[in-house]
Amino acid sequence: MLMKKSYVLTLEGTQHHAVVASGDDRTEVQVGDGPAHVVDHYPVLDGRAISLRLNGRMHLVQITGLDSKGNVMTTIDGWPVPMTVMDELKAMALESLGGVAASGTIAADIPGLVVEIKVTEGQVVHQGEPVIVVEAMKMQNELCAAVGGTVARVPVTVGQPVNPGDVLVVIEPEPGG
């Protein structure tokens, strides 16, 4: 079973999306809408760097975590590149906080079980309103609407196991929501 997680990365002012699907035996990474492929990677230099082998080519990426907010400093081929990397939800949250039009997509943050769905398709919800509950390790996590709007889809059902990144509820934002 692979556990999927989506990340939003920013480097040189541009945003990139990546999905990391990790299992016990292998890790697949999908960058942008490119194909997901198994990545030959190892932490090296006592944790100072990651060695990547991407279709035969070697890349040694020095990487240092600067904080828990996803700011990292990287160096490749001697060029230092500051980046930010965070999972998609956090990114959305920040966006909505930043007042930027937030996405209406609510996805799972942690692997768990859907225990309650508080909304139905077509229902109007307000920003911050709880819409779905996912239970993990005996803890109920209530996920709320990042934007106000109309519930467009609820692709999951109660009792269904979900993995991080799985879409749970899609809200059609109302204008200026």
Partner: protein
């Protein structure tokens, strides 16, 4: 009696001679590399240099308290301070450097000019006397031709200078320069000399025995400068013909002989586009860029200084010295090229050092060291030797790619930029090179696709692993719970399995 990479270099040099070493350090430097490497260390006060490294009495006391026989001043701080060297000798210790007379003579640009002119060393056309009257200055300017440079006799480090391109500017410029000079150097003596455009900075390493014997160790070119400060130096210079090299080196030896110079010194010349060269100043100390000379001539200048100070005279004979191959030095500064080289500070989080053939690193930092605000932002020097200039450059590119530092913002990428410039590649660069070619807002090459993919992939995996740990109940990204100790236990799982 210094700190940082030069103190480390001197300590290594002394250990290579089997001589015991004592370091002095300010409060913030207890864990500086020069302190860690010394046999003994003595604290000499608070962080500000004015309360520690610049206080002659404290340095002297430290030396006496530890029974030191001699003091090596390094560069900067008290290295060209006549009274200090006198105090050291008065205290019955050896000052590893020139006499106070030499320092004072060369410390004053006007007296140096007069001395050199007398010794037959070419100096930049201009006056040998201080000028206060604009009218006089204008006559001189007409005489030698505009543009001219107003220069503070006590100036240095690019301060107290002003270019005058026409008579109209003279009066105000003169007033301002005198004002600055008085304020910065406590001496408002100003003189006029011809302003040479697009010059090259060529300097010659000399050794003198103090009795008039002097030799040269060939030249260094230091024309890659930002804000009048050197960032890359090389030896030999790509700009000198064998004849010119001989002339300029001989002029340097004349200079040293003229003042019975003792120890290691550097005679700086300004090389005009037309091939004329003029005496600029003499630095009466070991130079930051001395390693390029050591690499090319196969010498050890710290050892040479010590032997001279011990009264054993010059340990090299001119006829035995020759240049072999080519050496480049890259100064690692904690500074941001994109923000007009503004200094940066902070902890060295991660450091990867280049190794292998032709590589030498003189460093004052290490992983985990916290770069203090109080001193020069130069952290280390990468010196690269090659059989010829092309190989030295190619090897430098390789070394700069292996060399990574996470922590303060630094100028390693800037060095890569310089190496890629045609003006540097063909050796035609002048001291105006960076000012003319470097656009701080647009100099970083864009990443190519594979680099971008690699970075995005690496960072995502990094975040995924970090997250995995966090959810395992460990909160690595929370500094206040960070342990003080890097136990093997913690490291056992890092690395390549």
């Amino acid at each position: 009696a210094n700190r940082g990479e030069i103190a480390v270099r001197v300590i290594q040099g002394l250990k290579d001679m089997g001589i015991a070493t004592v370091a002095v350090y300010s409060e913030v430097d207890r864990c500086a590399l020069h302190v860690l490497m010394a046999d003994e260390a003595v604290p000499i006060g608070p962080a500000p240099a004015s309360e520690s490294y610049l206080v002659a009495d404290k340095v002297l006391a430290a030396a006496q308290q530890t029974g030191a026989d001699a003091i090596h001043p390094g560069y900067g701080f008290l290295s060209e301070n006549g009274p200090f060297s006198q105090a050291v000798e008065a205290a019955g210790m050896v000052f590893i450097g020139p006499t106070a007379e030499s320092m004072d003579l060369m410390g004053d640009k006007l007296s140096a000019r007069r001395k050199m002119r007398a010794a037959g060393v070419p100096v930049v056309p201009g006056t040998d006397e201080a000028v206060t009257d604009p009218a006089v200055a204008i006559t001189i300017a007409e005489d030698i031709g505009y543009p001219v440079l107003l220069k503070a006799s006590a100036g240095g480090g690019g301060k107290g200078m002003r270019v005058v391109r026409e008579p109209a500017e003279m009066a105000s410029s003169l007033r301002q320069t005198m004002g600055e000079a008085g304020a910065s150097f406590g001496n408002d003596a100003i003189f006029v000399e011809k302003y040479i455009e697009n010059p090259k900075h060529i300097e010659v390493q000399v050794l003198g025995d103090g009795t008039g014997e002097a030799i040269h160790l060939f030249e260094r070119e230091c024309s890659v400068q930002r804000r009048h400060q050197k960032v890359i130096e090389e030896s030999p210079s790509p700009s000198l013909s064998p004849q010119l090299r001989q002339q300029i080196c001989e002029a340097a030896v004349q200079t040293a002989q003229a003042i019975n110079y003792r120890g290691a010194g550097t005679v700086e010349f300004i090389l005009a586009p037309d091939g004329d060269f003029y005496f600029l100043e003499m630095n009466t100390r070991l130079q930051v860029e001395h390693p390029v000379t050591e690499m090319v001539t196969g010498t050890d200048l710290v050892r040479a200084m010590v032997l001279i100070a011990q009264g054993e005279g010059l340990c090299y004979r001119q006829e035995d010295l020759q240049q072999r191959g080519w050496a480049l030095e890259f100064r690692l500064y904690a500074e941001d090229p994109s923000r007009n080289f503004a200094p940066s500070i902070g902890k060295i989080h991660s450091l990867t050092i280049p190794l292998g053939p032709g590589i030498r690193l003189d460093t004052g930092i290490y992983e985990g060291f916290d770069v203090p605000i109080h001193y020069d932002p130069m952290l280390a020097k990468l010196i690269v030797w090659g059989e010829d200039r092309d190989q030295a450059i190619a090897r430098s590119v390789r070394a700069l790619r292996e060399f990574t530092l996470h922590g303060p913002v630094h100028n390693l990428p800037f060095h890569q930029w310089v190496l890629a410039q045609p003006a540097f590649r063909d050796g035609s660069y002048t001291t105006d090179f960076i000012g003319q070619c470097f656009d701080s807002s647009n100099w970083l090459p864009p990443l190519d696709e594979s680099q971008t993919e690699a970075l995005v992939t690496a960072a995502s995996l990094f975040e995924a692993m970090r997250r995995a740990e966090t959810t395992n109940g460990r909160h690595l990204s929370c500094p206040d719970r960070a342990p003080n100790w890097r136990l093997n236990a913690r490291r056992r799982m890092t690395g390549n399995r």
